[in-house]
């Protein structure tokens, strides 16, 4: 796999832009997501009001996060579960390994979990000699391709059908090489068969959580394949990996969030499966895990609280912002170089990794505002990207050429007479040079522009010059 890191966003982007398969795959998925969302919203007149409520629920919870986490913890314990607290990704890894080793696990089933990605759980398990099997179809595909998810809800959205087929043929060598495998249903069917076997081999199942409910001490996952659900049901031990901001006060609140989640994510009215898990199996139960562990991860989130980035903790990971982001749709998720791509990643990644490491991401936006327009919990993503830019500017992390250029422009803009003198002269020259063709195909001071576009020439004298000559 080509490792990409956030600090190399530009290089990553160039590589991704040249990838024709990616372009095809993204073009195909885009309409599906945006059109689906619009349709499901048109079907629900209350959607806007629900969005406001969803925002308020998350705000309220975040403002009282300590209280709700403690209340949640109490309920988990009283239902027979365990709660572990992890300040860093490393801590979370250790807790997971510890649990796995205690039960002598050799194989672990994984439901899709972005926190799992954030903590590199698979790598940690493999290093400890434990086999980690991704059970979500998309996650499974990228696992066998040795890649990273490129999208938070559709991890393999960057791949074409043909690429998936190729990977399946390479990996599932025990199957008939002549088999027909060119339609999504046949691919799904094959993955199910292969995975089904593995469900029964694992001693531990690891899932994420979309919500943690303080009222009941439950974790909620939403899936479309039922894979995560089996991952948590069949093995002897269930580990829930969740970040601290996933908690909500009660099931009513969770219901409101669920009403906006699936619609924003995939345009579904409701996900196929919404599973609420509370504690391990009870004595009289016939199935379910014997142990239930929750790992609550901080990993930098508490340091976003109380800052201009606090609103980001409202995120319910629906992916709508990336589905509607023209930058994401151009470069794909891998360009962002870390777990969280698109607009939400552009705000969250600098918060979790540091702006030195992920400083490109909040800059790679035109501030077109489509992400904020569709975010189900009204996160002002462009505003927060701008705040990151301000922090970079303060700390002199902005590339020097831009810094100097912008400061020079501001210097001129703050001196209207100088501005007029400079522009009336230079613009006239520029207009005069460009008057024959009406545009420039290359200009020494505008290379970034003229690499791909002509630069329309100024009409001639500036407006202000002409106006002052008239009156």
């Amino acid at each position: 796999m080509t490792e990409s890191i956030p600090s190399q966003f530009k290089e990553n982007a160039v590589r991704q832009l040249a990838d024709e398969d990616l372009r095809q795959a993204l073009t195909k998925s885009k309409g599906h997501f945006t059109g689906g969302r619009q349709k499901s919203i048109d079907n629900l007149p209350e959607f806007e009001e629900l969005r406001d409520k969803a925002r308020d629920i998350k705000n309220h919870t975040i403002e009282n996060l300590d209280f709700y986490l403690e209340a949640y913890e109490k309920k988990v314990l009283s239902s027979g579960g365990h709660v572990h607290w992890a300040s860093t990704a490393k801590d979370a890894q250790e807790i997971v390994l510890n649990i796995c080793q205690t039960v002598g696990a050799t194989s672990v089933n994984k439901g899709k979990s972005m926190i799992g990605e954030e903590c590199d759980i698979n790598e940690a398990l493999e290093a400890a000699g434990i086999n980690a099997v991704e059970t979500d179809l998309g996650e499974y595909i990228i696992q066998i391709r040795n890649e990273r998810p490129s999208h938070i809800i559709a991890p393999a959205v960057h791949l074409t059908k043909a690429q998936v087929e190729e990977s399946f043929r390479e990996t599932h060598t025990h199957l008939d090489p002549e088999r027909v495998l060119d339609e999504p249903p046949t691919l799904l069917e094959e993955a199910r068969k292969v995975l089904r076997k593995k469900y029964f081999e694992a001693e531990v199942g690891i899932t994420g959580a979309n919500f943690l409910v303080a009222e009941t001490g439950s974790s909620i996952i939403v899936t479309n394949e039922g894979n995560g659900d089996l991952s948590q049901l069949l093995p002897r031990v269930h580990i829930v990996l969740a970040s601290i901001e996933k908690v909500v006060p009660n099931l009513e609140d969770a219901s409101t969030l669920l009403r906006v989640l699936a619609r924003s994510a995939t345009g579904q009215e409701f996900s196929v499966y919404t599973t609420i898990s509370t504690g391990p199996r009870r004595d009289e139960d016939l199935d379910g895990p014997e142990e239930y562990h929750v790992i609550l991860l901080d990993n930098g989130r508490t340091s976003m609280l109380g800052t201009e980035f606090q609103d980001m903790l409202r995120c319910i990971r629906c992916g709508a912002c990336m589905n509607h982001c023209p930058v994401y749709q151009s470069v794909g998720g891998h360009a962002y170089g870390w777990v969280y791509p698109g607009p939400m990643g552009a705000v969250l990644s600098p918060g979790l990794l540091g702006v030195d490491e992920a400083g490109h991401l909040p800059n790679a936006s035109t501030f077109c505002g489509r992400c904020e327009e569709v975010c189900p919990v009204h996160i002002p993503l462009p505003k927060m990207m701008r705040h990151w830019r301000e922090r970079e500017f303060e700390r002199h992390l902005t590339p020097n050429a831009y810094r100097k250029g912008i400061q020079l422009w501001s210097f001129i803009a703050l001196r209207p007479n100088l501005y007029k003198r400079l522009t009336s002269f230079h613009i006239r020259i520029l207009g005069w040079i460009g008057r024959r063709r009406g545009r420039f195909s290359s200009l020494p001071m505008a290379k970034g522009w003229t690499k791909y576009r002509d630069l329309p020439a100024p009409e001639g004298k500036t407006f202000q010059k002409q106006w002052s000559e008239r009156s």
């Binding site: 800059n363 329309p456 009409e459």
Partner: protein, 254 residues
Amino acid sequence: MKNNRVALFITCLVDLFRPTVGFASIKLLEEAGCEVVVPRQQTCCGQPAYNTGDRADTISIAKQVIVEFEDYDYIIVPSGSCAGMISKHYPALFSQDSNWLDRANRLSKKTYELISFLTDIMGVDSVDSEFQGTVTYHDACSGLRELSIHDQPRRLLSSIDGLHLRELDDANVCCGFGGTFCVKYADISNRMVETKAEQVIATGADTLLAGDLGCLLNMAGKLQRDGVELNVRHVAEVLAGMADKPAIGVPSKD
């Protein structure tokens, strides 16, 4: 004429690249019954600094604009993004400074983008101009999302005899301009404007219109680089009957 003394904030791009838009704006405003003044001490609204994270310079520029423009009944801007900068973002700059916050808020309330001002405040519902041809319209992002400009230009365009409007697929998707974005991330910007250009061509229109000069320069530059014969203009030029001037990036005939 009372209460209709409007100050034109010309915007630096129009000032430097496309004065025609300025004259078109004045014509439209005067036809709507406004008295138009062009304050002399004007340059740029501060967006480049603001979007680069240079808050200190942005604040200085905003103060300069406030001082120069606050005495008029309305401040009119032929650009959604610059109008949005003044009306939506200036107040956010002064959250710590109540005196300037007041002044920014007052200015914010009387600052409008040109086309929406004509329709929503001056009640203009048709223009007296002519145009022969098929146009398509791109909704520039700030105007659309910060100022809800969508129907207004379409309504006025539909009042022009001979003009046929054909809607653009994904008209609400960014063209890839984004101020300094288009040079900082030129490769990504190129993919975005490439996609936009394909969709514009697919409409079969002979003229592409929008309300923001930055986006127009970007799209015109791309179409021309690709050798596409299509006129690109600010919507005000067509509304003001000034489409006889050469289109953006097209040399004058003389």
